[in-house]
Amino acid sequence: MSVQADVAIIGAGPAGMIAATRLAARNHNVVVLDEQAQAGGQIWRNITRTSTGLAGILGPDYAAGATVAQQFMASSAQHIHGATVWNLTRDRQLHYLQNGQTHVLSARAVILATGAMERPFPVPGWTLPGVMGAGAAQVLLKGAGTVPATPVVVAGCGPLLYLLCWQYLRAGVPIAAVLDTSAGTHIFAAAPALLKGWTAFKDIRKGLSMIQAIRRHNIPFYRGVQHVQVLGDTRVSAVEFEHRGKTHRIASDLVLLHQGVVPNTQFTWLLRADHAWSDAQACWIPRTDPWGRLKDMEGIYLAGDGQGIAGAQAAVTRGELAALAVHSQLDPQHASSLDTESAPFMAQLKQDMALRPFLDAAYLPRRENRIPQDSTIVCRCEEVTAGQIRDFVRQGCMGPNQAKSFSRCGMGPCQGRMCGLTVTEVIADQLNIKQDAVGYYRIRAPLKPVTLAELASATDPDL
């Protein structure tokens, strides 16, 4: 079935929901496609039907999402949930699957509000059952009220790690230890940014109070942890790490790893959009203007953490800005007032992002956790190690696509989502060149597995 819309928005997180609400209010025909069963994205997952008890555990920042979600649900925007978008073209035609049926949708404007994903944490043993992302563990808590029943080891760095610990303590989940891998020197490098981020003092206090809560519960808290490795045969049995020159081992069935989040760039790479490597966030960021318009593309916008990690509040503001730009595209007589209408949101965005330079500097993942040792698996799907990638480079391999032909690295079911950043960094490091010169995998449709029957179900003769 082929459908036309004024605006197609992919993703019903903070940015997608606010942009949909605003554009629907301006009488545009808006369709929001989201893979989940409920609106909210990852940060506000399940917000429309969470229990009071669970919302209490998750805290006020989570509960704040209810207002945005309610406005979205009450808007005239069409919310197509359980929809997997597996193709998007530059002329804004998209293909999606819902209940085993392929649909085709054409739109005058497309907003990619596809957010962020947890940065892969390639350490020895990270493929063992019992290892999960801390963000993944939080998804289980929000979406399914599911928590560990046995003491967990939490390892890594970044605000989400402390937030999860804080939520677990409120939920009565036992924490065996917190292994903080952030490097002390980063904190000092971050000090000037901290002064500039003065307006975000409240957020810092919030972060500190979470760390204090962990300490109050007398949970072993190791700072400056190095050489994390997960041990086990067919499942996790322990975590080993170095702390102040001593090797420690903690027995555990469950290990939660986290070292920040990165933009989900699958759609922008599919579009062959221009991406730049960010040294501050150690990831790819697609090039956009302040409204999120993708460079050299007509009517395709990016809103939210896909524009670089800045958090939920900034995602809302970026959603507002994208909506204004889309409105001026669809309704050109409005274009003259775009700057005036955008000014307060531009100012708001500055405030939303005030703390970001500090967070980026303080929690930039250690080099050893981004560019792993030879024996560590980089590509989980095809089981390719960092050492194999280095071997390819020695044989003259210049980039990820060649590494892929050599080894099937990045060619498994996840299509490079879990290894792409690591492969780029390992090659750049080995060749001693910039990540921009190394590049990324050539991402192609379908972005998610589609069966032949699902493909054949499309009634569009052009497909």
């Binding site: 893979e35 989940q36 069963a37 990852q42 039907r49 229990s51 009071t52 008890g53 669970l54 209490g56 555990i57 997997t84 994903m117 947890e118 493929t127 063992l128 059952p129 019992g130 290892v131 999960m132 992302g133 963000g135 993944a136 563990a137 998804v139 289980l140 808590l141 979406g143 399914a144 009220g145 599911t146 928590v147 560990p148 029943a149 046995t150 939920a171 009565g172 989940v173 067919t234 499942r235 069935d253 469950l254 989900n264 989980r380 799907c381 095809e382 089981e383 498994g412 079911p413 996840c414 989502r417 879990m418 998610k448 597995p449 069966t451």
Partner: protein, 113 residues
């Protein structure tokens, strides 16, 4: 494996979700709260291994819970490579693990030359 690894958080257990559903995993009948993902439903039933890798046969389990890593691939109602973390568990679902590489038997039909 007798260790209880995952459970429903107390604050949520008191609230009625969308009832309870029963489903089949590897021939066993299991139950879980309705409205949660297949991955969460299996983990609440202490299923730690979802598949083994097609490359070396290593055991694998969900890593990202948000549709990124494809570690949670299972067979649901006869269809392979379903992302357990992205699909809501339903009454009567038949779920199976995925073992290694899929092999296809080559069938010679009579009219084949």
């Amino acid at each position: 494996m007798n260790t209880i690894l995952f459970k429903t958080v107390q604050a949520d257990a008191n609230t009625a979700r969308s009832g309870t559903v029963s489903f089949e995993f590897e021939g066993r009948i299991l139950t879980a709260p309705g409205g949660i993902s297949v991955a969460a439903a299996l983990m609440q039933n202490q299923v730690l291994q979802f598949r083994d890798s097609p490359v070396s046969g290593q055991p694998r389990a969900p890593y990202c819970q948000m549709g990124i890593c494809f570690e949670c691939l299972v067979q649901i109602n006869g269809v392979q490579n379903r992302q357990a973390c992205m699909i809501t568990v339903e009454e009567g679902m038949k779920i199976r693990m995925q073992h290694g590489q899929t092999t296809f038997a080559i069938v010679q039909t009579e009219d084949a030359e």
